[in-house]
Symmetry: C2
Subunit: 342 residues, 2 copies
C-alpha cells in the first residue's frame, strides 16, 4: 500500500501486546490528509525514529509517559517537512523535528516543533546522535555515570543508537570500555570501528565468565539499557562506588510475568549497601540544562571524527511494525530509522 | 564475671552465625591487661557502641569492610579513657573516641584516635548523635536524599540511633515525615517527642495500606535502613525522582537464603527506570568533606533543642552479646550503648 497523493497512511496500536508485539499489534489505516487551519501547518514525515522505549508506550502499566491509546497512532519522533503553512514561524520546505508518530502526514500548531539546525550533517541525525538517543547517552554516562580516566565502563547494546555513543564517549574520557552485543559482526564493529577495548557476545554460553575476564579490575560504570541476563552477569563485578545509570531494559520489555525465584531483590539491596552503589533511572528530558553542552560537544565530536555513528534505514512506513519487532530482538545494526518519504 | 584489676575481659567471635546470632556466637575470655610500649597508650573502655552493621562483620561475605576473624575480639567504636600513656599527644585521663572493640582494655599507638571534643554534652554522644550514626543520618538524608520542603520523607527504625535523627532533620527541612517503628510505644514517642507527622507500626497486619494512606502524595525520600517487608510496602509508593539512600538492611541481616520467588529484581529495575529513581548505598566515611558541617550543625541543633536524642544504656561488658542479639530484633529503644566502666 504505497502512499498516494490524497491519502494519509497511519499505523495505529490495534491491541496492547501480551509479550512480544506481533503483526496483530498494529494496523495500517488510511485517512484523508488532514487540513491545517489558521496558525497550523501540515507536516510530511520524512524519517521516523523507532526506539525501544515505544514498547513501554504500548503497555498501560504506569511509566514516565502515558501510554498510546488503542486505535490511536503510534507515537514517534520524526523528521518532517513543512508542506503547507498557516503559521508565521514556518514556511513550506522547512525541516523540523516533530513528534508526528507513525504516519505520513500530521497537522501541528507549532508547539513542540524544533527547526532543524542547518549545521546537522544529515537531517536523520536529529533522531539519533544529535537527538534523544545521543542526549540519553551523554547525560546518562557523564552526569550519572561520571566516568573517570582509567575506570572500566561496560555498556550493552554496544552498536545501538545509545550504547555505541556511550562507549565512544567513555573512550574519549580515557576509560577502559567493554561493549556487549549480539553476534560476531556487531562485536567486531564495536572494536574495529568504534574503538571499544573489548566487545563480548552475550549469546555465548560462557558470557558471564568472559565478562569477568574482560574486567580484571571490576566495573566502575555499567550503563544499563538492557537488563536481564546481562545485568545478572554485571552485578557481581560492580566495584565499590560503581554507578549504574538506567535508561532502558529492553531484555525485559516483552516479559509477561516476573521470573521464577529466588527473589533477588534482597541480593541487589545488599550489593547496593556493601559496595556503596548508585543505581539511577533517568530519561534525557530530566536534564534540560545540559542540552546546549550536549549539542556543542556531540556536534564537535561527530564532525572531527571522534565519534562514529551508524544508521540502519528501512524503506516504507508499512514496514515499521516488522522493523520495530526486530528492534526488540536486536536485529537492527545501528540506529533504526524508517524512511517514509524522500 | 566482673572486671578485676589485672584482668582484661574481651568478647570474641566464637563462630560465624548461621542466621541470627546466639549466645554461642560469642565467647567471653580473660587475658592479662596488655602493656603499652613507647609511643603507645593504654585505653580503658568506658562506653561501647552496639550497631546493626556489626552483624555484617560477623559474616565473611564480601562487604565494605573486612570481617572479624573467628576467635578475634568483636570490633566496636568506644569511648575510652587513657589510663597509661607513653605517647606525647595523650595524657592519663584524656577521653578518646577509639575503635577498641568489645573489651575492657586496649593498647593503641594513637592512630585512628580522636580526642573527645569538650563541647560534647555527654561523652556517649560521640558514639551516636555526634558520631557515626549521626553523620550517617546527616549525609544520607541531606547529600543523597536531598529533601525539599513539602516533600514526603519516610524512615524506618524511627526511634533508632539513625532513624530518629533522619526524621528530625527532615522536619527541620520542612518535610512531611512518616516514621516506621516496632510497637505502639515507639510510635508514640516518634510523634510526641521527636515531632514526626505520623509513625506507623510495621507489625500491623495492614501496614502497607496504612503507609499508603499516610503518604497521599507518594514518597519522595525513603531512607533505607531496614529492607525486607518495609521496603516492599515503600516501593509502589515511590514518586518520580524519588531518592533512596541505603545505609542498612537490618531486616535481612540474619537471612540465610534469599526469599522464594518470583524474582522481583526485574520489578525493581523497572520501577527505577519508569520513575527515574535514585537508589544509592553509602557509609558515612564516604563523605569526609562533610564532617565539619555535620559537627557544627548537629551540635547546634542538639544544644538548641531542635534535635532530641535518646540512648539506652546496658550495664556490663558481659551483657553485650544479649544486647546485640536484641538490637537485631528491635528490642532497644534509642541508641544502644554498653556501659563498660564508670
Amino acid at each position: 500500500m504505497p502512499q498516494t497523493n490524497n491519502i494519509n497512511r497511519r499505523i495505529v496500536l490495534a491491541a496492547r501486546p501480551h509479550g512480544a508485539p506481533t503483526a496483530e499489534t498494529f494496523r495500517l489505516e488510511e485517512t484523508v490528509i488532514p487540513t491545517p487551519a489558521t496558525g497550523q501547518l501540515l507536516l510530511r514525515t520524512i524519517h521516523l525514529s523507532l526506539d525501544p522505549y515505544m514498547r513501554g508506550r504500548m503497555s498501560d502499566a504506569p511509566s514516565y509517559a502515558p501510554p498510546v491509546a488503542v486505535n490511536e497512532v503510534m507515537g514517534a519522533g520524526t523528521v518532517a517537512r513543512v508542506v503547507a503553512s498557516f503559521h508565521s514561524d514556518y514556511k513550506v520546505g522547512d525541516l523540523v523535528l516533530s513528534y508526528s508518530g507513525w504516519q505520513d502526514y500530521s497537522v501541528s500548531d507549532g508547539s513542540g516543533l524544533i527547526k532543524l539546525d542547518s549545521s546537522l550533517i544529515k537531517p536523520s541525525h536529529a533522531l539519533g546522535v544529535m537527538g534523544m538517543p545521543g542526549f540519553t547517552a551523554y547525560v546518562g554516562l557523564l552526569d550519572i555515570g561520571q566516568p573517570k580516566a582509567g575506570e572500566t565502563v561496560v555498556v550493552a547494546a554496544a552498536t545501538g543508537a545509545v550504547g555505541s555513543l556511550v562507549g565512544q564517549i567513555a573512550k574519549l574520557k580515557g576509560c577502559h570500555v567493554i561493549g556487549i552485543a549480539g553476534g560476531v559482526e556487531k562485536c567486531k564493529y564495536a572494536v574495529e570501528e568504534l574503538g571499544f577495548d573489548v566487545c563480548l557476545d552475550h549469546r555465548s554460553s560462557d558470557f558471564p565468565q568472559q565478562l569477568k575476564a574482560a574486567c580484571p579490575k571490576g566495573i566502575d560504570v555499567y550503563f544499563e539499557n538492557v537488563g536481564g541476563a546481562v545485568f545478572d552477569a554485571v552485578l557481581p563485578l560492580l566495584n565499590l562506588f560503581a554507578r549504574v545509570p538506567v535508561c532502558g531494559l529492553i531484555a525485559n520489555y516483552n516479559a509477561t510475568e516476573l521470573p521464577k525465584g529466588p527473589d533477588r531483590l534482597a541480593l541487589l539491596a545488599r550489593t547496593v549497601l556493601t559496595r556503596s552503589l548508585k543505581i539511577q533511572g533517568f530519561i534525557n528530558s530530566n536534564y534540560p540544562e545540559r542540552h546546549d553542552a550536549f549539542l556543542r560537544e556531540m556536534s564537535d565530536w561527530l564532525k572531527t571524527g571522534k565519534i562514529k555513528y551508524r544508521e540502519e534505514f528501512v524503506e516504507g512506513l508499512e514496514n515499521a511494525p516488522q522493523a520495530f519487532i526486530g528492534l526488540l530482538e536486536g536485529k537492527n545494526f545501528g540506529k533504526l530509522i524508517i524512511d517514509v518519504a524522500e
